[in-house]
Symmetry: C2
Subunit: 425 residues, 2 copies
């Protein structure tokens, strides 16, 4: 039984946590290797998406990604050796989110990888994300550790990362919320669709890429890459979202969700008042469109990736109404997109002042998922996401619901912790 | 009295004219000075927006533009001399549209001005448009012929024009319909809003600007300009729209509108079956938002500019539903935007296969205004447009209706010409 005084105290804490999300001003500062910037990072640490998971239970894309990253980093010469080192604990695995980082899909992040560095200026928290690894490339998660993939990672590390780093340092900072706000007016929901955001970013950075006076080949290669990467902005906005959510963690009495994340086996969440604790439940399968007829549901792993950090801060699935093009992935309609955004309003604490939705007459985006409201309504967050192959690689895109279980567990834990503390007034 | 055989013949002709609009494939080819590319252009010709108009009746922005262009071209040393030369006929005035060109707002186009060159590939017709002259600059229509304005025009002529020309020649061609189709999915209606189109253009051209290996200062200046010019794409799409409409002109029996244009005094249209004849009626005042509180309706000239060529080919006002942000100019709503697109469907011959509107579940854009349908329904095209000051310069933006008069006159002329030719079957 929850008394009125406790309810008020929770409401107050949530209003405060919401204000943090709304007041946040994440700015892009730098691009640096993980080992140099990530709190707690070591040479033999490999980070992954989602909540913690034992090596034996890891999904295919993550296992392959860990093995390939170990070889890329020179920790192991073969897949077998890499697996052995992980089993012995000589290679340490940990969730990106436990290191203020986020990684798309498998989320594999190792020491030398260049990371986007974003700071939430009024609060000082930082968020980090790996670079978008390119459309259609093998990434650090496909089954084959081939020369093409290795060359692409090397190029990201030695060419694109330093070029972007030089450009953003020349510029100073880039206000990410401003780019997101503009992208929302241009049909992006900033998770599965980032066409506008990626172009806005290129446009903002282009003069600085020129000013940084890099080698002409580096400039040409970087511009060609950025011009063709419709999803590039996601890696910047994910780092921003992690920085924002980081600032809202650890507020006593707040039932605000501060992390939504998946490892292809389990869906995990964190809640403000409960700090760094994970609450997990089995991940759902994604409904969506496969990019080729050779793939179907049987080739897909369940929901995977840290990119649900976008929904955590009120974007992606929560603002379907602004991105009706994405309904093509799920055979939906504009009316369905609007209905989903209305539904998400029922489980959120407030609305954004900066993120306005033109199709809803500039209503603010729903922001701040409240575990109480999820449990009261039976509505879980809808997440826009890509679909990963069981061996790794993106084979489709669509939508998925967060499972109820993690919200139920977290609310139970919340009351265990806070009901005993409730004011006696 | 119009008999059934004539109606069928008109319907057939309109279907054919519509197919031309739909099949058109305008590609950007070049940037060249008007004198080198424009059919019928001479050193002492100055073109203007809208239907033909006598010097004495010209609106302020056009008179000032003509005078300033005459001075810029070295035809006159003073405003008085320029006016005298125009009065004596030594400077020749003519509508842009009569030279396969279109010009935004006053539309002043003189011999040395760099023009966008677009070719409608399956049909071979070309369309031309001056370069977008920049946000907030004085342009060739403000009252003062000052050094700042002159330097800006010189820069467009000597720096940006040649840079863009080199880039597009290096690339070969650029498919404009493809850019428009993508922009429509990103909240542009491609007349008053071109944010997405301008970014798509920059992204498409950036690798070629680099490849053309121009001087670094030229590259930096051009990129800075293009990065800041949200309306830039309009000059490319207007040239494309003119090229498309050009191909649909002169089809006997077709009541398709092939030009919508305004000179700040009169609104003029052309109709396919009636070739180059203009039909005019007094231009309406624009409803909209003024960019500063210092301006109001009394500072504005009536509807001005050739940019309604966008509505002529089924964009701008006809596809309001895809650009709800523009409702902010007129205090409207998303529902109003949708209603206007539905209304426009009632006066058009068909819908686009390539231009799809996500907010209407990917329905095709209404295309091909039929003067018969306008007269039958009493609905005239709605046009998104900027608002010009009586002395020149853009002071606002909003929407305006084409006047009924020009459609009534054109239909009367059509029947005069074609009823006598009707088949006797």
């Amino acid at each position: 039984m929850v008394d009125k005084a406790l309810r008020l105290r929770i409401d107050e804490a949530n209003e405060k946590a919401l204000e943090i999300l709304l007041d946040s001003q994440p700015v892009w500062l730098d691009v640096s290797p993980a080992i140099e910037v990530l709190p707690g990072m070591t040479e033999n640490t490999i980070l992954h998406a989602g909540p913690p998971i034992e090596w034996e239970r890891m999904c295919g894309p993550q296992r392959n990604g860990v093995i390939n990253a170990a070889r890329y980093e020179g920790l192991a010469d073969s897949a077998d050796e890499a697996a052995l080192l992980v089993e012995r604990g000589e290679i340490r695995l940990a969730p990106c989110n436990d290191h203020q980082a986020v990684g798309g899909m498998a989320g594999i992040t190792s020491a030398s990888m260049p990371l986007i560095v974003v700071e939430n200026q009024p609060y000082g928290h930082r968020g980090y994300s790996q670079l978008y690894q390119g459309p259609g490339i093998q990434e650090l998660r496909w089954d084959d550790y081939d020369e093409g993939a290795r060359n692409q990672w090397r190029w990201l590390e030695e060419v694109l990362g330093p070029a972007l780093g030089a450009a953003i340092r020349a510029r100073g900072t880039l206000d990410i919320k401003n780019v997101i706000a503009r992208a929302l007016q241009m049909g992006d929901e900033c998770h599965n669709r980032n066409s506008a955001g990626s172009m806005l970013l290129l446009r903002e950075m282009m003069p600085w890429l020129l000013k940084a006076r890099m080698e002409h080949t580096t400039l040409e290669e970087s511009v060609r890459y950025l011009s063709g990467a419709d999803q590039f902005f996601l890696c910047i906005s994910m780092a921003a979202a992690r920085a924002i959510a980081q600032s809202a963690m650890g507020y006593p009495y707040s039932t605000l969700v501060t992390t939504l994340s998946r490892n292809g086996v389990e869906f995990g969440i964190k809640v403000s008042a409960l700090g760094d604790r994970w609450f997990t439940a089995p991940a759902n399968m994604v409904d969506g469109l496969y990019f080729s007829s050779e793939w179907s549901r049987k080739d897909a792993v369940p929901d995977l990736g840290d990119s649900a950090i976008m929904e955590t801060v009120g974007l992606g699935g929560l603002v379907q109404a602004t991105a009706p093009t994405l309904q093509q992935f799920v055979g939906g309609s504009f009316a369905r997109a609007v209905a989903l955004t209305r539904e998400m309003r029922a489980i959120t604490i407030g609305t954004s002042r900066e993120y306005q939705l033109p199709n809803l007459d500039f209503e603010g985006a729903p922001v701040g998922i409240d575990i109480r409201k999820v449990m009261q309504t039976g509505i879980t967050p809808i997440i826009d996401t890509a679909i990963a192959h069981t061996r790794g690689g993106v084979i489709g895109a669509g939508q998925v619901r967060a499972p109820m279980g993690c919200f139920a567990q977290s609310l139970e834990a919340f009351y265990q912790e806070y009901v005993s503390l409730r004011p006696t007034s």
